[in-house]
């Protein structure tokens, strides 16, 4: 990797000021960033270490849970309160990467990580995200790529936590010149909006925490990460479902699809099928079919469409306690 300078602020305000420095990038767990530096996909002139910032706690109060940006995936996976209150988040965290990576990787870094597209990650391909004019996946080996929203850039969003968090209605708090809070789903940027960034963070901005609202007991959730290999694998697809139930009837549905589009995708058609319906095998199947409607698979990834449909149906059923 290229040489860089390093600073270690002690407060959020210092960190945001440091991040406003031209060429600065934030360093949290480093799992994703070091990979990019070694591959020379990024070459910051200065790293801003977030290690001494106080954002490493999970706090529950007034009906919501705030999770600091420096909380590790291992902390989320092991937190007994989260396991009860937001089980699918703990599920997603515990299925991510490897034990060592989970001990290092942070929530903020996980949400702000960049795509794992093997063209984007290679210095040898000057893809659209790297300032070029081509999406090499379109005519290349695209078996791992997006099946929705892939016309501009076919990279998928790599965060599995995001899939669960969007289903939980999370908001993300951002510090900067003007601190703000945005809906997590809107925090992710489609390539048509901005090719150079995947999240709505400007220079000098920093994720401080993520807030997840308390779920009423009537909300039933489930999360599935579908992998081929059990030990450390990227998802073929991952799906999070949150259903507000009234007896056997779904009053409100969130179906979120991961690893299939450049951003976590709300399957609004599937949600429409579920809302107001009695949830059973048949509606789950209909919703799953709706979830894959409009998919635009590439030459080598139509298996993802079939698998997505199955996993959506299974996850809906798992949410209401009917595991396959």
């Amino acid at each position: 990797m290229k040489s860089f300078e390093w600073v270690q602020p002690e407060s959020v305000a210092e960190a945001t000021a440091a991040l406003a420095h031209p060429g600065a990038m934030a360093l949290a767990g480093g799992v994703d960033l070091l990979d990019r530096l070694k591959e020379r996909v990024d070459a910051p002139s200065r790293l801003v270490s977030l290690r001494r910032l106080p954002l490493a706690e999970i706090v529950e109060a007034d009906g919501e849970t705030a999770i600091g940006a420096r909380v590790t995936l291992a902390q989320i996976a092991a937190d007994p309160k989260l396991a009860r209150s937001h089980r699918i988040l703990a599920d997603a965290a515990s299925h991510a990467a490897t034990p060592q990576v989970r001990a290092m990787a942070t929530l903020g870094g996980n949400l702000a990580q960049r795509p794992r597209c093997w063209y984007f990650r290679s210095e040898a391909f000057s893809c659209k995200k790297n300032g070029g004019a081509t999406c090499f996946a379109h005519a290349g080996d695209n078996q791992l790529h997006a099946i929705f929203g892939n016309a501009t850039c076919a990279a998928t969003h790599p965060s599995t936590l995001a899939t669960a968090l969007v289903a939980l209605g999370a908001r993300v708090a951002i510090a900067g010149k003007a601190s703000r809070t945005v809906d997590l789903h809107g925090f992710f940027l489609a390539p048509e909006k901005d090719l150079a960034r995947e999240v709505d963070l400007a220079p000098g901005e920093l994720i401080t925490h993520v807030v997840v609202p308390k779920l009423p007991a009537t909300v039933k959730t489930a999360y599935t990460k579908q992998v081929a290999k059990q030990s450390f694998d990227w998802p073929i697809v991952d799906v999070a479902v949150a259903l507000r139930m009234d007896g056997g009837t779904c009053k409100e549905a969130k179906v979120v699809l991961g690893a299939v589009a450049p951003t976590p995708r709300r399957a609004t058609e599937a949600e429409r099928v579920l809302t107001g319906a009695a949830v059973d095998v048949i509606t789950a199947g209909r919703a799953a079919k709706a979830a894959v409607t409009g998919a635009t698979p590439l030459a080598h990834n139509d298996h993802k469409v079939a698998i997505l449909e199955v996993v959506v149906a299974r996850t809906i059923l798992a949410a209401i306690g009917k595991a396959v």
């Binding site: 990979d35 034990p99 391909f125 993300v172 809070t181």
Partner: protein, 1000 residues
């Protein structure tokens, strides 16, 4: 709790800040510990800076740049080389250390970030030269092979036990799931963790079936037979001066008994030094400049800017072409530089004082390319008009132990071959056959992915060339360098104490090795060139892909009438993409024809890989035999019994066939074959099935198998040979063989191997190491004992011929009371030392068959909706000659199976079809099986003696790997009733097969 008001500093700016964030008490809690920005500006750290690290309980200062990873700081600055770098991308776990007691990755952590944390490395796990209980359990349970992943694996498991003193099995697997072991030692690791936590080992079954006679065979004979079959003493002409045959294993004291490996302690403590760990005084670091283009002419190379960089000591522009050699070089006008034929081919190299500098210098080398059209796929390369990889005919020598292909085959376009075998009239037999089955089978490119990448330290000195290499063959590296640099072999020393896996890819010096030697010659300093993970995937070998069309014809009663095989495969720019000899030789058939072609593509060269060609060939053959059985409506095992005979319609007397016949029945009982359901008969989306795969391997004898045994007057014993230990436990096996003959314990023998200064030993490959070297060890022991007994006989006043070495003493066979303990016996030596160098004695006759056999059964579970396959169980039966160390054989067989499953389900080198660049040259999207994917494995070993040498030892590396994918494929068919004829069997290929789409 964080929301205690008194702990919060106050201040307007902060309140204003909070006001703008996600409101609520919870959010306030998160930010409660935040404070005001300090008035002073932040300290900017830039360039090399002293840094205090708390490592293994002491504060150590290193001077590093901010970009230095913890792994590099530990290894390069503190010389704590137990922390390994396997992928340098956080995917393999070899660099696992503890940060404040938690397992973390040193390659993905900046050293500057851990100043406030306690760093524990493998060296600090149990200070004071003691072993942590886990380290001891790893040694006792043989939880290691090459040992390169071992420190990281131990650290992950130690972190687990610190948190969870009595983990259950699933927790152990989860804790290991971030540590890759390419040797496939996971089952023993799981056992070690259970034992270390005071629990019962998981109990991975190993059953050794011995043959009874515990006496030495009568003079002039050797034992011949197999456990479960017949046994007899057969006449042999054994030269007078040779070591005599042993009794069968029950009659031996050391050999055949499970023995923890002698170098285990070095491996579990991180003290074992691998090539990539070496730091010689004044050593330089090298990086290569490689082509980003798959096919190009190099027009210009300018190393000027690189040379001007301070710290750069040598540059080198490559002159020697990689890959095959044109028969007529004038057919290619390449200009000054070798033609670029694959993306990743080396153009130039630099050597500098640090790794960072070398990397920077390599990037300063300017190369101008004229890019040519490339051909990147097997099928594309076979088309008329495809860009030509070579303009004319080529030849390529195989690396020792495999690879390569026959010389002077026909060549048309990118097609070279066929290499052909033919017997009988296949066309007539096919035309007249009562029934036929045929299929088209595809297998993918697999990279060796040893945990230690290829590496070399070259030290060109005025008087000699000294090379430390991560290699499978010290002598083969020496021979290649002698040829390239025109040096006498006597002036080259090649050393390899420990190496982190090879699997066939590490026989010669390699192109990169030659580059390193050349840089050392130019710089007049030692040069270390360790390839990175990308280079390992791209440039130094792979198992070639194949496309096989196979047809079997049979008569109505199920006798084979004809076998016809056409195989195409691509080893990139290399040759040797064949599928072995399974179709030609496993089942004797009146008419056989195999035609095998190499297809050149613009991709990195193939190399020998664990049973070169055989798993590919067996994947096709074993599936078609099952298809034939289905068509004939006979049981697949019965059909194999019928076909697996010496000659068509005859009986099975050859040892491998006798073995497989027994093994099929043992396995059938264990897997529950009689309860096997009809293909695809289970209801529901998730289905299970069982299937069989067949192993065959040749008994390869390498006569370059010599050793020296020295016995000193103080009783110490050493064994020396250039043979090295690839992780199979050769070091321990040799000590066991020598200890047996000297009446000692293995740990009383000092084994010095892996150095060409010592008598030549075989390269470790082809499952030929022990076949070759153990008879030489016994012969050297025989000769040294004769000298020792002469001295002892004189002292005891008995005839030296009546002496024997047993139980730590030298005693008279007739009057055991007349004896000396070993040390006193050695004191009788007149000089300070006795020594004998022995070459390998010839076999005592022609082998009765081509090799040895094994059988595997697999049970799988297939999710027919997602296409995900899980292998639940593998039962393997294997004969492997005389067992030397069952413990190590068990580990190696587990590894062969795990390798086979990984190939069958996960591994696939992906090339970008346009550019020919490898897209997944890493260890996360190039998927290697991990701890959670290990099935239940049961191993049954049958002692088999053929009476050909004084040990009758065989190897086991390849045979255990040959049948696995075939067994899995047949089990998948039994589960889902649809054939998956393409590897890897991923969700994508399985769903395509289920939809009847054929291939993806």
């Amino acid at each position: 709790m964080a929301n205690d008001d008194r702990e919060q500093p106050s201040g307007l700016s902060r309140r204003a800040f909070l006001g703008g964030t996600a409101g609520g008490a919870a959010a306030l809690g998160i930010l409660a510990r935040d404070r005001e920005a300090a008035a002073a500006p932040l300290k900017v750290v830039s360039g090399a800076t002293p840094l205090a690290l708390k490592v293994n309980g002491a504060t150590r200062t290193v001077t590093v740049e901010p970009r230095a990873t913890l792994a590099r700081a530990l290894r390069d600055e503190l010389r704590l080389t137990g922390t390994k770098i396997g992928c340098d991308r956080g995917a393999c776990g070899a660099c696992t250390v503890h940060l404040d007691g938690v397992a973390a990755l040193a390659c993905t952590t900046l050293a500057i970030e851990v100043g406030d944390r306690e760093v524990t490395t493998i060296e600090g796990l149990a200070p004071g030269g003691k072993l942590h209980v886990l380290q001891q359990a790893f040694v006792d349970n043989d939880a290691m092979q090459c040992g390169f992943c071992t420190p990281g694996m131990v650290m992950s498991c130690a972190a687990l036990l610190a948190k969870t003193p009595k983990p259950d099995r699933a927790t152990v697997r989860a804790a290991c799931s971030g540590n890759l072991c390419r040797c496939g030692t996971y089952p023993k690791v799981f056992d070690a963790v259970m034992v270390a936590s005071g629990q019962k080992p998981e109990g991975w079954p190993l059953e050794v079936r011995n043959v009874a006679p515990s006496a030495a065979p009568p003079p002039g004979t050797a034992w011949v037979g197999i456990a479960g079959g017949s046994v007899a003493a057969e006449l042999r002409t054994i030269p007078e001066n040779e070591a005599k045959p042993w009794p069968m294993n029950p009659g031996l004291a050391v050999v055949g008994k499970s023995t923890p490996r002698l170098d285990g302690k070095l491996k579990v403590t991180g003290e074992a030094k691998y090539t990539s760990d070496l730091q010689l005084p004044g050593m330089l670091h090298a990086r290569r400049v490689v082509s980003p283009h798959a096919h190009a002419i190099v027009k210009r190379v300018d190393t000027g800017k690189a040379e001007k960089l301070a710290g750069v000591k040598a540059t080198f522009v490559v002159k020697r072409q990689e890959g095959a050699t044109l028969v007529d070089p004038s057919t290619e006008k390449s200009g000054t530089y070798p033609r670029i034929r694959y993306a990743g081919q080396c153009v130039a190299a630099v050597a500098a004082t640090t790794e960072d500098l070398a990397e920077e210098a390599a990037r300063l080398v300017e190369v101008e390319y004229e890019v040519l059209p490339a051909t990147t796929s097997l099928e594309g390369a076979m088309k008329d008009g495809a860009p030509l990889v070579y303009p004319g005919r080529v030849n390529m020598g195989g690396s020792a132990g495999g690879g390569g292909a026959a010389r002077d085959l026909a060549q048309r376009g990118n097609l070279r071959g066929p290499a052909q075998q033919s017997e009988g009239n296949v066309d007539a037999a096919l035309a007249g056959a009562a029934m036929k089955v045929s299929g088209e089978f595809r297998t993918q490119v697999q990279t060796h992915s040893p945990m230690e990448t290829h590496g070399i330290v070259a030290d060109w000195r005025p008087d000699k060339l000294v090379v430390y290499a991560s290699t499978q063959g010290t002598a083969t590296v020496r021979d290649e360098l002698a040829a390239v640099f025109d040096l006498p072999k006597a002036r080259i020393e090649v050393k390899c104490d420990f190496m982190g896996g090879g699997f066939g890819a590490k026989f010669g010096a390699g192109h990169f090795g030659v580059v390193a030697v050349e840089l050392s010659r130019r710089a007049k300093a030692p040069v270390r060139l360790v390839l990175d993970r990308r280079e390992q995937h791209v440039a130094v070998g792979n198992r070639p892909s194949t496309l096989q069309q196979l047809t079997l014809a049979a008569d109505r009663s199920g006798g084979l009438a004809a076998i016809d095989l056409v195989a195409h495969g691509t080893a990139g720019i290399g040759t040797g993409a064949g599928v072995g000899w399974a179709a030609a030789r496993l089942y004797p058939t009146p008419a056989v024809r195999t035609r095998q072609y190499d297809v050149f593509t613009n991709a990195g060269p193939g190399a020998a890989f664990r049973a070169p060609g055989m798993p590919q060939g067996m994947f096709a053959l074993d599936q078609l035999i099952d298809d034939l059985a289905e068509k004939l409506r006979v049981d697949p095992l019965d059909l194999r019994d019928r076909l697996d005979v010496d000659a068509p319609g005859g009986t099975a007397t050859q040892p491998d066939r006798v073995a497989r016949r027994l093994e099929r029945r043992i396995g059938a009982d264990k897997i529950g074959w009689s309860r096997r359901h009809a293909n695809g008969a289970e209801k529901g989306p998730i289905k299970t099935g069982i299937g069989i795969g067949t192993s065959m391997w040749r008994r390869i004898v390498d006569m370059d198998s010599a050793c020296e045994v020295r016995v000193a007057k103080d009783g110490s014993v050493q064994l020396r040979s250039s043979v090295m230990d690839i992780g199979t436990g050769t070091r321990t096996a040799l000590a066991m063989v020598l200890a047996e003959d000297l009446g000692l314990r293995p740990e009383q023998i000092d084994v010095h191997i892996g150095d060409t200064r010592w008598p030549i030993g075989p390269a470790s490959g082809g499952s030929k190491t022990l076949v070759g070297i153990t008879p030489a060890v016994r012969q050297a022991a025989h000769e040294v004992k004769a000298k020792l007994f002469a001295a002892v006989g004189k002292k005891l006043g008995v005839d030296a011929k009546d002496l024997r070495a047993r139980g730590g003493r030298v005693e008279s066979e007739k009057e055991p009371a007349k004896h000396l303990v070993w040390r006193d016996a050695c004191a009788a030596i007149a000089t300070d030392e006795l020594a004998a160098i022995a070459s390998r004695p010839n076999d005592w006759g022609a082998p009765p068959s081509q090799g040895y056999g094994g059988v595997q059964f697999a049970q799988v579970q297939v999710d027919t909706e997602t296409g995900v396959i899980r292998v639940l169980k593998v039962i393997t039966m294997q004969e492997c000659g005389r067992l030397i160390n069952p413990l190590a054989v068990h580990s190696q067989i587990n590894g062969g199976i795990i390798h086979g499953i990984s190939w069958a389900l996960f591994e696939d080198r992906c090339l970008d079809p346009q550019s020919g660049r490898v897209l997944n040259a890493n260890l996360d999207t190039y998927k290697v099986l991990g701890a959670r994917d290990v099935p239940f494995i049961e191993v049954v070993l049958l002692d088999q003696y053929v009476g050909l040498t004084n040990t009758d030892a065989h190897g086991i590396g390849e045979p255990a790997n040959v049948p696995t994918a075939a067994a899995v494929a047949n089990a998948v068919y039994n589960a889902i009733g649809v054939r998956v004829r393409e590897l890897p069997m991923t969700p994508r290929t399985v769903l395509a097969a289920l939809r009847g789409k054929g291939r993806v």
